[in-house]
């Protein structure tokens, strides 16, 4: 560290040129940053459910379902004509595979002795046609309540969207078409629409959050330093780190999603604390009447170790997210860890280089004149010296209590839970759930002889029972289509009783439509069919129950007549995400804690210190999950990160430990070492916590509910780590580390 800072003070321009060059090179990657928040961005590509979903999409030509509900009296000529125009124009949008509405529905029925197979809406629609249309639609289970609400106040437009679509462009195009033709309110829901809203929110939120984080952090820096450079230098180093990290993401072709919106704030908040520590020490050294360059070198040397440990720990905590199986979280972890390490580099190289070029500040803080905060810290130290055992026992009790509440945490991954209750996507989704039975889908793939009437009857029976399950809107398959055809042919709903009958009715359907229409339900050779189950947007817990119920039904009814029955669908993918999140939590938590303990131990040369050092973190993480369980906050894709980020932001312990050891080394008693450590480093910890907490408060303004929850939890996290670092940690040090060891000397504790 010291040679580097020495170099920086001698050749400041070289260092600045180096940072400038890399900033420009990596910054050029920024325009290449891409955004994706589709369900696919949350699951590993080789996940079996995902592989099956791709296969199903390929076989049956489908994608994700979006549903637009149009409010207004549907049974009028102008509205039906508007519906026709909308249906036509939506089909032209990029990525739209198929559009289904009353406007392109078929009429297949017995009419005056003729079998009629034709478009439901005649080309020249007149008011006289309406009663006949309405009564036909109301008699059709495939249309009634699916394409038009039973009261006739809402029309549905079901849009089948290619899974790889640009959700943002899709949303814009669809809304434009809907607004151009429909005079009443419109509601757009479904996974592609929600993905679009999420990206839209993201693009709105990112700059706003960065600005707010810079403002909040800047304010705290000003309170701490009361000088322009005290604000400017730390912010500059983190902005450099941010450009490097996001630019690298751009060059590497990473796709950012909702989780990534946390990234800038993490880098800004965590990174600014490094320069804050260095700068604090620099002022102290200047006040001790050292020369500028000497003060810089000393500041880096003395705080360098602490800053390095906390940068490595933060980097490790974040990089541990790379073990996640969720691609979005992986990318986030890598970029955040990189950003934090760059911030460290900037704090120990760029900041000294810039300081060398600046004039000495006119006003210097007096390190010996205690302010209110350092006085308070000293009082804490005296209290801890007397009550260390009680403090540690209280901490143990807290841990136990929180661990108990942590078992109650629920996982939530549904997209709709991203949005606050009154936001348009949430309102649209709830309306579509109520009126049309939902816009989420679950697919059952049935392999077998699909011309076998027994199998078809089983599928139909499954659908009937599935519809009774709370949360299921409808279920549609080839069996329903055959019942329609059979009714048109024979006058009664029912399935043909022979294989030949099935084959011939399928042929009739193919003859009366496009051949690929049938392929949406069944393969050409009738060996594979899909049942599409429409679901309301359910909480992850409820979705899991519904899926289990449906699996049970399918096993009981369909499996005995089929070769294979499999489940897939976007909703099932998100269920898998839940499983992965839970699994990842254990892995990344354990990994991160081990890494932090390891770095502490390695750099401070003692395993005992490593273990004592992670105490505040362990307590904070228990507190986070306990709080989530207690307040009913869900573990979701954003809050899944808090433990890892707590490790990143909350490693204040090291600064306290480093100072405590420094004092012991100089021969101070443990009690006075703790007092000095808290008075000097404690003050820095206090301001760092404020800066980091302030940075994270910017996330309260996020348009995503999980990120808002995350921000609140981060508020707790920052406060708790600081609190534990200033109470439990010194108590533990006083109890278990009363003699100086380090630099390879064998440790002699008196535990």
């Amino acid at each position: 560290m010291e040679p580097l800072s020495r170099y920086a003070t001698k050749h400041p321009w070289v260092v600045i040129a180096f940072f400038l060059a890399i900033t420009l090179a990596l910054g050029a990657g920024l325009p290449h940053l891409r955004f994706d928040n589709s369900p696919e961005s949350f699951v590993p590509p080789d996940l079996p459910t995902k592989v099956l979903l791709d296969e199903v999409r390929d076989t049956f030509g489908g994608g994700d379902m979006a549903l637009a509900a149009l409010e207004g009296d549907v049974w009028t000529v102008p509205h039906l004509e508007a519906l026709r125009a909308i249906t036509d124009e939506l089909s032209e949008i990029d990525g739209v595979l198929q559009v289904t509405s009353l406007a392109n529905a078929k009429r297949m029925e017995e009419d005056d002795g003729f079998l009629v197979v034709e478009d439901l809406l005649p080309d020249d629609l007149t008011p006289a046609d309406l009663p006949r249309l309405r009564s036909y639609v109301e008699s059709e289970p495939l249309y009634d309540g699916r394409l038009v609400s039973r009261d006739g106040h809402y029309a549905a437009v079901i849009i089948d969207v290619d899974a790889g679509v640009d959700a943002l462009a899709f949303n814009r195009a669809v809304n434009k078409v809907l607004r151009a033709h429909w005079d009443g309110p419109v509601y757009l829901s479904g996974t592609p629409a929600l993905s679009g809203y999420i990206l839209q929110t993201l693009q709105h939120d990112l700059p706003l959050q960065m600005l707010l984080a810079v403002l909040f952090i800047g304010l705290v820096l000003f309170l701490n330093f009361r000088s322009g450079r005290g604000v400017f230098l730390p912010l500059l180093t983190v902005l450099v780190a941010l450009v490097w990290s996001l630019g690298l993401g751009g060059w590497l072709g990473f796709e950012l999603g909702s989780i990534s919106s946390i990234l800038p704030v993490v880098v800004l908040a965590v990174g600014s604390s490094f320069t804050l520590h260095v700068l604090n020490r620099f002022y102290h050294e200047l006040a001790d009447a050292r020369s500028r360059n000497e003060a810089i070198i000393l500041a880096v040397r003395e705080t360098g170790l602490g800053v390095l440990v906390s940068a490595l720990a933060a980097g490790a905590g974040l990089a541990a997210l790379y073990s996640s199986s969720i691609p979005q979280i992986k990318f986030f972890g890598v970029l955040a860890a990189f950003g934090v390490l760059v911030a460290f580099l900037a704090a120990t190289l760029l900041a000294p280089a810039l300081l060398t070029l600046m004039k000495n500040p006119r006003r210097l803080p007096d390190p010996d004149r205690p302010d209110a905060i350092s006085r308070f810290m000293a009082q804490i130290a005296q209290f801890l010296a007397r009550h260390k055992v009680a403090v540690l026992l209280t901490a143990l009790l807290f841990f136990g209590l929180m661990a108990f509440f942590a078992t109650r945490v629920q996982v939530e991954t549904s997209f709709v839970s991203y949005f606050p209750k009154s936001s348009p996507p949430r309102v649209a989704t709830e309306l579509v759930d109520r009126v049309f039975g939902g816009s989420d889908t679950l697919t059952l793939v049935v392999d077998g002889d699909l011309k076998d009437p027994k199998l078809l009857e089983a599928i139909y029976a499954f659908e009937q029972q599935a519809k009774q399950v709370d949360g299921v809107g409808s279920a549609v398959s080839i069996a329903d289509l055959l019942r329609e055809i059979n009714k048109a042919l024979t006058g009664s709903f029912g399935l043909p009783d022979s294989r030949d009958g099935v084959a011939q009715e399928l042929l009739l359907f193919q003859m009366s439509s496009d051949p690929e229409d049938l392929n949406r339900f069944i393969t050409e050779d009738a060996s594979e069919a899909q049942i599409t189950v429409q679901l309301q947007s359910l909480s992850t817990t409820r979705l899991k129950q519904v899926t289990e119920e449906l699996t049970g039904l399918a096993q009981k009814l369909i499996a005995p007549h089929a070769e294979k029955v499999r489940f897939t669908g976007t909703s099932v993918l998100l269920l898998e995400v839940m499983r992965l999140i839970i699994h990842d939590q254990y892995v990344s938590l354990a990994l991160a804690l081990v890494l932090v303990a390891f770095f502490n131990a390695l750099l401070l040369r003692s395993w005992r210190i490593g273990l004592i050092g992670i105490l505040p973190l362990v307590l904070t993480i228990a507190g986070q999950f306990g709080l989530m369980g207690l307040l009913g906050l869900p573990l979701d894709t954003a809050t899944a990160l808090i433990a890892a980020i707590a490790i990143g932001v909350g490693d204040y312990s090291v600064h306290i430990i480093v100072r405590y050891l420094e004092e012991l080394r100089h021969g101070a008693s443990p009690e006075s070492a703790a007092t000095t450590s808290l008075r000097v480093s404690g003050r820095a910890v206090f301001y760092t916590a404020l800066a980091i907490g302030g940075g994270f408060m910017a996330l309260l303004f996020s348009g995503f509910a999980p990120i808002q929850t995350f921000a609140k939890l981060m508020g707790f996290t920052v406060g708790a780590t600081a609190l534990f670092a200033l109470s439990v940690l010194p108590a533990a040090l006083l109890l278990w580390l009363r003699r100086y060891q380090g630099n390879g000397k064998k440790e002699v504790g008196n535990a």
Binding site: D58, T59, G61, E92, D111, G113, F114, L115, V116, V117, E118, K451, L489, T490, P496, S498, R499, D500, G501, V502, A503, Q504, E505, L507, L508, Q510, M511, S512, S513, D514, P515, E516, L518, N519, T523, E524, D525
Partner: protein, 254 residues
């Protein structure tokens, strides 16, 4: 002598090929003689984009008497649809259609409006299969785009757009018409300005001593779904006597 003169003029005209207008090309296509009756087999191979296929075999009878056109189609294979038959009788453009499904043992009358629909569940529509590039020349704006060599034969490339008010499934067709015999060998079908289907007629045979030119193998490919249908005609008999009793309900059920 006179015949030789005509021949010479004909050759001269052929030489000045580009002198033909799009309308003239399409008139020559439409002027090809059609047989009064036709009987034969048709093998229909449906192939989806994954190469999964299904083959159907049909037997067809058709007869043209003045303004009345009769057509009967019967499925021979696969076994589960064998005997399914379809009868169309067109009088002055009015269609009467009947369907017989053996599993139901009943003949059903079917309402009109099928002309634009799929022909027997294939990628061809009824219009596609009965026209094979022959259009009502006066209903279209025909424009000769260029001359082009296609599979070793000189062709005229003609764009045909329906005139305003003409009911057509497509808003544009581009036809490759062989210059020597005026048989369209490739047709592109456009809807809303986008290419939707491509028909290739890659085998054209002479019948009745060269009087008729009939395509015996053709492929229609749906551009978007990559689904395609291959039709192979065999055992074709042209201008043979087909009794009216063939076009009856009783024959459908047989």
């Amino acid at each position: 002598m006179r015949k030789k003169m005509l021949l010479a003029v004909g050759l001269l005209l052929a030489g000045l090929a580009l002198a033909l207008s799009g309308t003239e090309v399409m008139q020559k296509v439409a002027a090809q003689p059609r047989p009064a009756t036709m009987h034969g087999k048709m093998e229909m191979r449906l192939v989806d984009k994954h190469g999964r296929e299904l083959t159907r075999v049909l037997e067809t009878w058709s007869k043209q008497e003045g303004d009345v056109e009769k057509k009967l189609i019967k499925f021979l294979a696969p076994a589960d649809v064998k005997g399914t038959s379809f009868l169309v009788i067109s009088r002055n453009g009015q269609d009467e259609m009947k369907l017989y499904l053996p599993a139901l043992k009943r003949v059903r009358r079917i309402a009109g409006g099928q002309k634009k629909g799929s022909f027997m569940g294939s990628d061809f529509s009824y219009d596609d299969i009965s026209n094979l590039g022959k259009i009502e020349v006066d209903d279209y704006e025909n424009k000769l785009l260029r001359e082009e060599e296609l599979n070793g034969a000189k062709t005229y490339v003609v764009e045909a757009r329906p005139k305003a008010g003409v009911d057509s499934s497509y808003d544009k067709q581009i036809l490759w018409v062989r210059a020597d015999d005026f048989v369209p060998v490739r047709i592109e079908f456009y809807q809303k300005g986008k290419l939707v289907k491509v028909m290739t007629l890659d085998q054209v045979q002479k019948f009745a001593g060269g009087k008729y030119l009939m395509p015996t193998h053709m492929v229609m490919e749906n551009v978007k779904s990559k689904h395609k249908t291959e039709l192979t005609m065999s055992d074709l008999e042209l201008d043979v006597d087909i009794p009216d009793s063939v076009f009856s309900e009783r024959f459908m059920k047989r």
